[in-house]
């Protein structure tokens, strides 16, 4: 595939992520903060998000496995996840976190377990999508092209 085709593929892919609600305008904001002096800013922030998310997923799974669930603790973790997903524009993850927090408030175990599965699902989805997008960027650069804004 030549540079032009790679670029087109990238543009279409990125557009679909916004269209399908995986990313929102906060992600655009992050990209605007990247420049030639900080060319890896977005990848770095997203990597931090991935690290954070793995940790939170593990904590949440553990917390919801307990005999007596500490809903305050669960809520605290979800609140953090809601925050970080919002900060990078991972809209679908953020939305599940909002629903998740409501179940925590109601101390609804079923609801919480359902949301845990949902947030896990959405997280891995957006992770795959972002990694694919970063790979497309790399392919363009390797082919000697520049990444379209």
């Amino acid at each position: 595939m030549d540079v032009f085709q790679l670029q087109k593929q990238f543009i279409d892919y990125k557009a679909s992520l916004y269209h399908e609600g995986f990313l929102d305008k906060q992600f655009t904001q992050l990209q605007e903060l990247q420049d030639e002096n900080n060319p890896d800013f977005v990848v770095e922030v997203v990597s931090l998000f991935f690290e954070d998310s793995e940790r939170l997923l593990s904590e949440l799974t553990k917390a919801l496995e307990q005999q007596n669930i500490d809903f305050k603790k669960v809520d605290a973790h979800v609140h953090q996840w809601k925050g970080s997903s919002s900060s990078i524009g991972a809209q679908r993850v953020q939305k599940v976190c909002i629903a998740f927090r409501n179940y925590c408030e109601q101390q609804n175990v079923e609801g919480c377990l359902k949301c845990l599965q949902q947030v896990k699902h959405e997280y891995y989805l957006v992770k795959t999508k972002l990694e694919t997008m970063f790979q497309l960027e790399q392919q363009i650069l390797t082919a000697g092209g520049s990444i379209p804004v």
């Binding site: 904001q29 922030v45 609140h79």
Partner: protein, 234 residues
């Protein structure tokens, strides 16, 4: 960033710290202390501030912020850890010490109460915003923080702003638009009393009207509840 009348401005800045010798380059850049327990958010706020030509020190807790300022009780003396801080921006929800508690400690300190403090929160809770503003916060930013937010709060560090008094209320909620672009609206007669229901429509004055008032004393807000009512919220 060039500043006119640099000499007099610099001496105003340096006279606050005894024996602390600030080189010209140190006084040019605004130094912001950013406090947030989220690693992701710290990275983002750091970048937003740096791109806005600010020096940044980012810490992960209120406790560390106080340590940096030299206010930590356990450390004893008020030694200055680093550069003079021109602005503090802190998350509200943090384990241990909340941003609100940090705000209170800063405003209680004679050495640091003058430093403008901005609160960030992912939750647009009116009671929370009110509480922070009444405690002396300059502004309240709803996360996620954007470049336009940072550009706005940077104004709080300018001498012109501080001498001219606090001026307009810059409280921001997700729905409200930027204050400078909102036209003044005068409420004719409303059955809703202004002392209740904060979400009701309230009169808002144009920035030029408010800045014409006499400068208020730096450490106290001019009728915080009146200021709060001046927000135009949709």
């Amino acid at each position: 960033m060039a500043r006119n009348g640099a000499v007099s401005w610099r001496s105003w800045r340096t006279e606050k710290i005894d024996g602390f010798d600030l080189s010209p380059s140190d006084t040019e850049e605004v130094h912001v202390l950013a406090v947030d327990d989220s690693h992701v958010d710290r990275k983002v706020i750091e970048r937003l501030l740096r791109i806005s030509s600010c020096k940044v020190t980012a810490v992960d807790s209120g406790r560390r912020a106080l340590q940096f300022l030299g206010l930590d009780e356990e450390k004893g003396s008020n030694d200055f850890e680093g550069l003079k801080v021109d602005l503090i921006i802190t998350d509200y929800c943090m384990p241990g010490m909340t941003g609100y508690e940090l705000l209170k400690k800063i405003k209680e300190s004679s050495a640091f109460r003058e430093i403008p403090v901005v609160i960030m929160s992912s939750e647009n809770v009116l009671a929370r915003i009110d509480r922070c503003l009444e405690e002396g916060a300059e502004d309240f930013i709803v996360k996620p923080v954007k470049l336009s937010d940072v550009k706005r709060i940077k104004d709080y560090t300018t001498r012109e702003f501080r001498v001219g008094g606090r001026g307009i209320n810059k409280r921001k909620s997700r729905e409200s638009c930027d204050i400078s672009s909102s036209p003044p609206s005068i409420l004719s007669s409303s059955p809703i009393s202004s002392s209740s229901s904060p979400s009701s429509q309230s009169p808002s004055l144009s920035p030029s009207t408010l800045s014409a008032t006499a400068p208020s004393s730096p450490s106290s807000l001019d009728s915080p509840t009146r200021r709060l009512k001046m927000t135009s919220s949709e």
